[in-house]
């Protein structure tokens, strides 16, 4: 049993190296000028596991609402598979990591759908109110719940303007080893921090891309050369409830 896990670790490492080389290979092909391949693994993502989080990075998401269709919930399914939660059909107590929202302009009748998850604010109200300090913002901008010290008071759930958090009411079994979750604590989107820490993208981003929509983009907001920063600089994007002044890490295009 232990051999398996060790092997997996080695496999992970070598797979990453392989991809690096593959990516390097792709970019040597001649391309039309000005076109940047998104395939090239951005240097910022590759951090060694033994190293501390890099505070000069700030992870963010960019969601292009136009690429989001009403009948698709690939991101939600991907998240539930990745993190081991499922919906029981009871909205009052269901897990809340990511959900699809549909809005309609009452005047024009124009409808849009888009996913909403924890916005990973720079000034998170959930962190402000948490009485124990369990809700915290990591140095690279990801807002997490330290379930070891969460007392389950749900103050953060009250404080979050995006209703991004949920409380686990039932005892759980067979959790994912990379996403522990349990009864009596509050949980929310972690930006797949276990994936980010090994250089991958969050599950929702990955699935949306592999399904061919590419509505979600993940990257380092502090890196001017990253795809996401370039897009934000080029196209008009907004934060939901920007008036609250929370400076969210998740931005929406064409909303």
């Amino acid at each position: 049993m232990s051999d398996v896990s060790l092997k997996e670790a080695y496999i992970d490492k070598t797979r990453r190296d392989f991809l690096k080389k593959a990516g390097a290979g792709v970019t040597t092909l001649a391309l039309a000028s000005g076109v940047t391949l998104m395939a090239y693994p951005e240097p910022a993502l590759a951090r060694k596991q033994e190293e501390m989080v890099d505070p000069s990075q700030r992870w963010g998401l960019l969601i292009d609402v136009n690429k989001c269709t009403e009948d698709c919930d690939a991101c939600v399914t991907a998240c539930s598979v990745e993190n081991g939660w499922k919906l029981d059909g009871n909205p009052a107590v269901d897990a809340q990591w990511i959900r699809k929202l549909k809005i309609k302009n009452p005047r024009s009748g124009h409808e849009q759908t888009f996913p909403v998850m924890c916005q990973h604010c720079a000034k998170p109200p959930c962190v402000d109110v948490c009485p124990t300090g369990a809700s915290f913002k990591r140095a690279d901008g990801i807002v997490l719940v330290d379930k070891h010290i969460c007392i389950g008071c749900r103050y953060c759930m009250m404080a979050c303007p995006y209703k991004a958090r949920s409380f686990v009411h039932e005892p759980l079994e067979e959790q994912k080893s990379h996403a522990p979750r349990g009864k009596g604590t509050v949980e929310s989107c972690t930006l797949c921090v276990h994936r980010v820490d090994r250089g991958d993208k969050p599950a929702c981003v990955e699935k949306c891309a592999s399904d061919g929509h590419g509505a979600l983009i993940f990257g380092d907001l502090n890196d001017d050369n990253s795809e996401i920063s370039k897009r934000i600089a080029t196209y008009a994007t907004k934060q939901i409830r920007a008036d609250l002044g929370l400076d969210t890490g998740v931005r929406y295009q064409n909303l």
Binding site: D128, V129, T132, G133, Q239
Partner: protein, 648 residues
């Protein structure tokens, strides 16, 4: 596009980088993922009450105004109930509402939200209501057989008389003037304290059964020894009747150089002359500033709001009153002060008011010499600009000039007149007392008011209240207890329960089990009112929206219209406005029934007490079997009433 607006968060569990380890020991609630504390209800004194020298239960009567504390007697109006609450501390609400500089407003915690609560305005409203509706003070207590002599029928003396009568002691007031009122009548002009209002308020105190001896000056008409023989205690409230003259050449002996106290006395007695044309008033006091800054310190207030009564903020009260009276007589007055006034915002309002009435205020000016004519009367005052080195004026070279004047009034300080009673003088023109206002070194003698230190009206009234209590204790057994740290009227839960007939059951002194449910005790309530004042950072201020303070209208009289106009300038609030001001009160340190704790408790542990058992201060309770100690209720309590405890 700017998306990040700088919003001030008023609920921050941690400063960035801080953890529960950085909290005070008292505040430490959590150990990793569990907590060992639950909510308790702690009563503290708000800074308004804490800084009121007369010790009003301000929060109490504001909660009556907002309708939360309902009168216990069927059919009683809220104004009457509020009047009862006010006069428990200070018998002259209508006067106070007009002339008190309101240190309560300076210390009001709401300064840190939007603007202070108009406490003074509400007081004036209730006082006026009481006067128009002929409300009475509480009746005198049962006769104790003791008799106390009160020397001086001013605010301190009348206040002492009132409280002594409430306790049932006999009172005789010796007043050297022909009417009662002291500085309220002879110091402050009629356009600020209307005479009819004074008569009504003073009359109430007299109607409690005081013996009054007018036109009787102790020291001349009556000797101290006689008082000591005939009375069980003597309270000196003679005020500071003498004014300081200017310490410059040619002042002394010049007939038309007088001090402000003298001037006001004459003016208010109707003895003004018409021949005077130009007057210079030299005034430089900061009584009001020091009172305001003490109040702000008590309340940890950083923000200053515009004051309603700017008089006395920069220029001495006396000087201001003098100039005001002169203006109305059509006499051009120049008011000078050693201190610069250009840079003080509070002074703007005062200066504008004064200018409107034809008075010119000049700051940073020091008097040098009186210029006299051949007949020995002053014709002008030589002044120059100055800068202040602490309290000493430093003249600025080359700025000397002469201001024409046929009356020069100095209003730079007061002290007592001890003619015939030199034994009471401490050598500096005042009387020395201890904390309870017993005169040092003299048995049976007590003192209060300006004679101890010239200060506000409300201070004098406060002295009277405390001295009356001290005298009462002295008469009982000679032992006077130490005064509490926060020496004001407090909310008393037991009294409140008693008033509503919800007293706890009498304890039958047998061994009992399950005392946490017993009904012979009040549970989980701590009264720290007499020891602690609650600062604004213990409140959840995020609960309060910005609501503009109801301002009292002022009748602005311009230039020539001032002549002969002795009407009041301030227009009182309406009933609705007074109630709205009551609602702005944040009820610091006592529950004000907002339901926040009930709404926000995630465990449904906090519940509203049944109507039949509930009173002010017993509105919510906690089911401790359900409480998880998350302290959300303590966090969202806007009044800071809920504190986490029980776990140590």
């Amino acid at each position: 596009m700017s998306e990040s607006i700088d919003i001030k968060h008023t609920v921050l569990a941690f400063e960035p980088g801080a953890t529960p380890d950085d909290w005070d020991l008292e505040e430490k609630i959590f150990q990793a993922d569990h907590s060992h504390k639950c909510p308790t209800y702690v009563h503290k004194t708000p800074p308004c009450q804490g800084s009121c020298p007369s010790g009003h239960d301000i929060r109490g009567w504001l909660s009556i105004a907002r309708g939360m504390d309902k009168p216990p007697v069927e059919g009683m109006s809220w104004q009457e109930y509020a009047f009862q609450r006010m006069t428990a501390a200070n018998p002259f609400p209508a006067t106070m509402g007009r002339v008190c500089p309101a240190p309560c407003e300076d210390g009001c915690n709401r300064n840190e939200v939007d603007d202070y609560v108009g406490i003074n305005a509400v007081e004036q409203y209730v006082g006026d209501f009481a006067n128009s509706n002929d409300l009475k003070l509480a009746p005198a207590g049962a006769d104790t057989g003791k008799s106390i002599a009160i020397i001086g029928g001013g605010p301190a003396g009348l206040s002492a008389a009132y409280f002594l009568r409430l306790a049932g002691h006999g009172v005789t007031i010796f007043e050297s003037a022909s009417e009662l009122g002291g500085m309220m009548r002879y110091g402050i002009p009629g356009y600020r304290t209307p005479r009819s209002m004074l008569d009504t308020e003073i009359g109430r105190v007299v109607d409690m059964g005081c013996t009054i001896k007018l036109n009787t000056k102790v020291g001349a008409d009556v000797k101290i020894e006689a008082l000591e023989n005939d009375f069980d205690a003597i309270f000196w409230a003679i005020g500071a009747q003498n004014g300081r003259g200017l310490p410059i050449e040619s002042w002394d002996g010049t007939e038309n150089c007088i001090n402000g106290v003298e001037f006001l006395d004459d003016f208010n007695k109707g003895k003004m002359t018409d021949t005077v044309k130009n007057v210079v008033v030299i005034g430089g006091g900061d009584t009001s500033i020091d009172v305001a800054s003490v109040a702000r310190r008590i309340g940890h207030i950083d923000k200053k709001a515009e004051k309603e009564h700017p008089e006395g903020t920069v220029i001495d009260f006396t000087a201001h009153d003098v100039a005001g009276s002169l203006g109305r007589q059509g006499i051009k007055a120049t008011l000078t002060s050693l201190f610069p006034i250009e840079d003080m915002t509070a002074a703007e309002h005062e200066r504008e008011d004064a200018l409107r009435e034809g008075i010119d205020i000049q700051g940073s000016v020091m008097p040098l010499e009186v210029i006299k004519g051949d007949d020995g009367l002053a014709t002008g005052l030589k002044v120059c600009d100055c800068t202040m080195d602490g309290m000493r004026p430093v003249p600025t070279e080359g700025t000397e000039r002469i201001i024409e004047a046929d009356l020069i009034i100095s209003a730079i300080g007061q002290f007592g007149d001890f003619t015939g009673i030199e034994a009471m003088d401490n050598g500096k023109g005042f009387v020395d007392t201890d904390a309870g206002y017993s005169v040092k070194g003299k048995d049976k003698h007590f003192a209060g008011g300006d004679i101890i230190r010239p200060h506000l009206l409300t201070t004098a009234i406060g002295h009277g209240r405390i001295a009356a209590d001290t005298i009462g204790q002295f008469l009982e057994d000679g032992e006077v207890a130490k005064r509490p740290k926060v020496d004001v009227h407090h909310f008393n839960l037991l009294e409140e329960l008693h008033q509503r007939s919800k007293d706890p059951v009498t304890y039958d002194h047998t061994q009992t089990r399950g005392t946490d449910n017993s009904d012979f005790a009040i549970h989980n309530y701590e009264d720290r009112g007499s020891a602690q004042i609650i600062p604004h950072d213990e409140l959840f201020k995020g609960h309060f929206k910005y609501i503009a303070r109801a301002r009292r209208d002022e009748v602005h009289i311009e230039g020539d219209n001032v002549l002969g106009n002795f009407e009041e300038r301030i227009v009182a609030l309406s009933e609705e406005q007074a109630q709205l001001e009551g609602e702005r009160c944040m009820s610091c340190g006592m529950c004000f029934e907002c339901d926040n704790c009930v709404i926000f408790c995630p465990q449904d542990a906090v519940f509203k007490v049944k109507k039949t058992d509930a009173t002010l201060g017993r509105y919510v309770d906690t089911d401790y079997t359900k409480c998880i100690g998350c302290h959300i209720c303590a966090d969202v309590c806007p009044t800071g009433y809920i504190k986490m405890g029980l776990g140590e």
